[in-house]
């Protein structure tokens, strides 16, 4: 259900350079329907944030987009040259790693495993190291290259995974933000990196977020999800929608306003 007129126009025609349409996505686990008829139009060069209560199916939507979870409906992608039906290159930043924290897997190992065919346990070439370092420097994480994955803080890990997802630069970037464990500075740095990305590359960013404040500040478009799309549009429009207040309550809004007043005061 669109929240404004612009949205209606966009659903009829692609208006950006490249665009992604999610059409009638439904996901069922056993007898539980987790997602029902999700229709979204994702715009290139924009940060689309998906918000919603726990169990709303946010992560499931990302997994369905990745093709990992069985779903009905389809993902239609049109690239900048107007070619329909090509399958997009998708980058993915997971919410957390399954890897044991004590595992001796370094950041460089992860890059080699992703980008090279030569076995990680046998070789490490200088060429790969240089490339990995370039990718990491883009997200200000070059100094982490020899650290163990398990020894990174939440924010550091998120930046490393972002660098990995951007190598090669995808057409759609999916980010599943951790519920907790990232310090405020890390989050700011992360969102600033995303803003730079939007400007420099031709890609659509879909972000599952739990931090409403930062979404309001940085997202170009917000999707309120709860089993299906409840509301979708510009952040201001969605955040003032009554269904938004019903789901999240008033508490967070007061906090945001208080913060803003503080900023003005200081």
């Amino acid at each position: 259900m669109p929240c404004n007129k612009h949205e209606l126009n966009c659903q009829r025609e692609c208006c950006g350079l490249c665009c992604t349409k999610i059409e009638n996505f439904s996901v069922t686990y056993g007898k539980t329907q987790v997602l029902k008829d999700v229709n979204l139009h994702i715009h290139c060069g924009e940060l689309t944030a998906i918000i919603g209560p726990n169990g709303a199916g946010k992560s499931t939507l990302l997994k369905a987009l990745l093709g990992e979870v069985k779903h009905t409906g389809q993902l239609r992608f049109m690239d900048a040259k107007g070619a329909h039906g090509v399958s997009p290159l998708i980058g993915y930043v997971p919410q957390h790693l399954n890897l044991d924290n004590g595992s001796p897997t370094s950041v460089l190992d992860l890059f080699i495993a992703c980008r090279s065919r030569s076995p990680v346990w046998l070789f490490s070439t200088k060429g790969i190291r240089k490339k990995a370092l370039e990718s990491l420097d883009k997200v200000k994480a070059g100094h982490l290259i020899d650290r163990r994955l398990g020894a990174l803080s939440g924010g550091e890990l998120q930046r490393v995974m972002l660098a990995l997802a951007l190598d090669p630069v995808p057409q759609i970037l999916l980010l599943d933000e951790p519920v907790s464990g990232i310090d405020q500075n890390g989050l700011e740095l992360f969102y600033n990196t995303l803003s730079e990305l939007k400007e420099n590359y031709d890609l659509s960013i879909i972000l599952v977020s739990h931090d409403l404040e930062l979404v309001l500040k940085h997202a170009d478009r917000v999707v309120l999800l709860n089993g299906t799309v409840i509301c979708n549009g510009k952040p201001e429009a969605v955040f003032s929608d009554e269904r938004m207040l019903k789901i999240f309550g008033m508490g967070w809004l007061k906090e945001v306003n208080a913060d803003r007043n503080n900023e003005k005061g200081s």
Binding site: Y29, L62, K63, L66, G67, E68, I90, G91, Y92, P94, H96, L97, N98, L99, D100, G102, S103, P104, T105, S106, L108, D109, L110, I112, A113, C114, S116, R117, P119, V120, W121, L122, S124, D146, R147, R148, L149, A151, M161, L164, A165, L174
Partner: protein, 283 residues
Amino acid sequence: MMELWYALVDWLLPFEWADADKLLFMKNALLAVLLISPIFGILGTMIVNNRMAFFSDALGHGAFTGIAIGSFLGFLMPLWAAIFFSIVFSLAITVIKNKSRGSTDTIIGVFSSTAIAIGLVLMSLRSGMGKYSGYLVGDLLSITPLDILMLLGVLVAVIVLWLALFNQMLLVSVNQSLAGSRGIDTLYIDILFTTAIAVIVTVAIQWIGLLLINSLLVLPAAAARNITINIRQYHLASILIAIFSGITGLILSYYLDTSTGATIVLVSALCYFTTLTFKARFA
């Protein structure tokens, strides 16, 4: 081939093993240890990384049951029946684990206990337990040159698997969705890896024994990760610790007249606790 090895041992080792043709079984065992411990060292890195220690333990039980089924059905070589059963067993666990959203621990526990119970019932039904108790503890000293040839084949297979697919296996263990987004078929990789463990555990169980086999898979890698910070160091340390424990354990068991498998495991455990004291420096 074996003559060459015997001559080499006679020339290299100055102590009583080298006495003419007397202790051929020790020379066989030494060669077997040199082949089998790198296999355990390599596979163990991934088992420990994936927190699959319980899973590989269950596979040992599956292999035991496979041998019981094999000899119950009257095969001359129960090993082939055992390998077949272990693969089916590991596939069942892997597929169910991937499909279900329940706790992996419980699923593995159910499979493992069912398997061991079937194995024990079959064995007691036919001929009493005594004949099979060898599979519980194993006997490394009984290994024959033909067995050793098979071990060589297994070692080569593991190295080929590791050369071809390690990168993908590492990605799957880091995060399945991430691996999927990079075009990796995660179920296929999972199945290949667990099949490899199943085959190796089954082949090795007659020499190492059900009770100890998992310790040999887990301990060298667990020790190695205490003192390493990347994958290459991890593999090197794990293989070296496995070989060191294997040889030291074999020699000690000869002089102390103790069970070879258990002595090797004890040396590995000692390595683990020693490296544990250095862990803080590698955090």
